[in-house]
């Protein structure tokens, strides 16, 4: 058991609601922190009030709210704030959602402080006082565990790595303002514009429990993919071919250069399973593939593979699921 609290970066939307994976990280943090407790760090000018009930249910004891005139969307400023929060909480372990922005801040923090970083972890445990992170690598084909040997550990955890659960006893989180001294370097990048993506009404691709993906085989018609996604309460994803063709937005691209997903259920329709795509989805819990080509590589990793036409199989599955639910 660590003698220090575990600190969690509280990623949230512009309206102050916590991103889904944050609850998972808080659940994980509670298990690691024991009596030392879980602290949160709140970055950005949004009101923390909307998040407090969730933080209370998660047993968070203290929230360090960063106070600065600089823009926390800049990695250097966020790194300044995280460094201050680590010092204020006395924590030796910071958990962050594994996103590009958080990786940028963690990289800076590691160079500044000598901390050790593990990205894309799917589990964290303790070996004595030492933090051990678990992750799958090489496009999901290998599993590894990795100890942080530096005094401070920064672990970026993938969505869906753990199941979020509320604490047995809720807390009354204390929100404390933490003024952040922004280093001279932090003023040198200017955020000219930032446009938040419009909410789609579907869950976030990166953290959804179910993801239905369309590839070239859809020939641009995503109706069947969307229908099944909606029946399953899932997100819609795509291969690079589908996004390059303009059939769906670029932010739907799953793969090594797109979003990495590890949902409980991945359904790929008209997706061949090219290695670039597999790199972003092979760690999914259960993989279903519908493809008309029996030799498509995705069948090598599918738990349930259907050689067939997606335009008949997907609507049939959707309608049967609706029927079974009554």
């Amino acid at each position: 058991m660590t003698a220090t609290p575990v600190l969690v970066l509280l990623d949230h939307a512009a309206d102050g609601t916590l991103r889904t994976p944050v609850r998972e990280l808080l659940t994980l943090a509670r298990g690691l922190a024991g009596d030392a407790g879980v602290h949160g760090v709140w970055a950005g000018g949004e009101d923390v009030a909307a998040a407090v009930p969730v933080l209370a249910a998660q047993g968070v004891t203290t929230v360090h709210r960063l106070v600065t005139d600089a823009d926390v969307h800049l990695s250097s400023v966020l790194a300044d704030g995280l460094q201050a929060a680590l010092a204020a909480s006395g924590s030796a372990l910071l958990l962050l959602v594994s996103s590009f922005e958080n990786k940028e801040a963690a990289a800076r923090l590691a160079v500044r402080t000598g901390a050790g970083v593990v990205t894309d972890a799917d589990g964290v445990s303790l070996d004595g006082a030492r933090v051990v992170a678990h992750k799958t690598v090489l496009a999901g084909t290998w599993t590894t565990s990795c100890a942080v040997t530096a005094p401070t550990a920064l672990v970026l955890v993938k969505a869906n790595a753990v199941t979020a659960q509320d604490a047995a006893v809720p807390s009354a989180p204390q929100v404390v303002d933490l003024p952040v001294e922004v280093g001279a370097a932090s003023g040198r990048v200017r955020l000219v514009a930032r446009t938040e993506h419009a909410a789609s009404g579907r869950p976030d691709l990166g953290s959804a429990h179910v993801v239905v993906v369309g590839g070239r085989g859809t020939e641009g018609n995503f109706a069947a993919v969307e229908e099944l996604a909606d029946v399953l309460g899932g997100a819609v994803g795509a291969t690079r071919v589908a996004t390059d063709e303009g059939w769906i937005g670029h932010d739907a691209q799953i793969g090594q250069t797109g979003v990495t997903v590890a949902p409980r259920l991945y359904v790929g329709a008209g997706v061949s399973g090219a290695v670039h795509h597999r790199g972003g989805m092979q760690a999914s819990g259960t993989i279903v593939a519908v493809n008309s080509d029996p030799d498509a590589p995705i069948f090598e990793i599918a738990d349930f593979g259907i050689v067939g036409d997606l335009f008949t199989v997907l609507p049939q599955a959707a309608s049967e699921l609706r029927r079974l639910r009554g």
Binding site: A107, R108, T119, T141, T144, T149, T195, V290, Q316, A317
Partner: protein, 264 residues
């Protein structure tokens, strides 16, 4: 304008990649290649150099065969190559590699100033994406990471990028010198042509070691690594796999299977 493009030599992702007992990626030659995503970095650097009458240096840190990565950069059209080669670098994590690259960029800048450092968005071996911003931090440069478009205004001395993130799109700008990492969507890397391949043979590849760069051995390589792989194993094959050919009821069977597995 002087641009340094950082490139990495990695096992080809189409090959059967393995981890060794030390938990490091096995790099036993033969199937190594220039990290595909770094071709976009080289292309971005070359395009800027052509537009603004600049020169491009390709820089790599890695074992003997890593020189192939910078040679590919020269074939694409870079002017000069630097290979940092030292046994003490083996086992470096992303942060250690950033420290070595930073020292090499400083070394290059000591003779002629470096205006821009360009990297790919990730290495296809570790895929951490930590390196670009770690390098900017080590060089004390502003970072414009994950650029899906990049423009440089030489008169104003600024670089501007557009980047797409999970939840937002951003436009960032900074004064040069700066660091930019580029996505694979930013451009279409050129193929080396015969002329480029012939010309590359005559271009210099400078080899430097840690002593040349004044890097303390304790800060890099396995000695300086802040993480240590304890275990690495091939993921066990998936069990109870089902493969059916649709004869009219596969959608219904899929629905039943999902319900039975409690996946819905």
């Amino acid at each position: 304008m002087r641009i340094v493009a950082c490139v990495k030599f990695v096992p080809d992702i189409q090959s059967d990649r393995q981890l060794g007992p030390d938990g490091r990626v096995v790099r036993d030659g033969g199937d190594g290649t220039l990290n595909e995503l770094d071709e976009n970095a080289v292309e971005a650097a070359l395009a800027l150099a052509e537009e603004h009458d600049g020169e491009v240096v390709v820089l790599t840190v890695g074992p003997d065969d890593a020189v192939d990565a910078v040679r590919k950069g020269l074939q694409m059209g870079a002017d000069e190559a630097v290979h940092v080669l030292d046994d003490g670098i083996a086992g470096s994590d992303a942060i250690g590699t950033a420290i070595v690259l930073a020292a090499a960029v400083r070394h290059l800048g000591a003779t002629t100033p470096v205006d821009l450092v360009v990297t790919g968005m990730a290495g296809l071996d570790g895929l951490t994406s930590l390196l670009p911003t770690a390098l900017a931090e080590a060089l004390d440069l502003p970072a414009l990471p994950l650029a899906s478009s990049l423009t440089v205004d030489p008169a104003a001395g600024t670089a501007t990028v557009v980047r797409r993130l999970d939840h937002a799109e951003e436009t960032l700008t900074a004064h040069l010198p700066a660091l930019v990492s580029v996505t694979d969507g930013i451009n279409e890397p050129r193929y080396p042509n015969f002329k480029g391949i012939m010309a590359a043979r005559k271009k210099p590849v400078t080899t430097l070691d840690l002593a040349d760069l004044g890097v303390d051995h304790a800060t890099v390589g396995a000695a300086g690594a802040r993480t240590q792989v304890l275990e690495a194993a091939p993921r066990p094959p998936r069990e109870d796999r089902v493969l059916v050919t649709d004869t009219g009821d596969a959608g219904t069977r899929l629905a039943a299977w999902l319900v039975e597995r409690k996946l819905v």
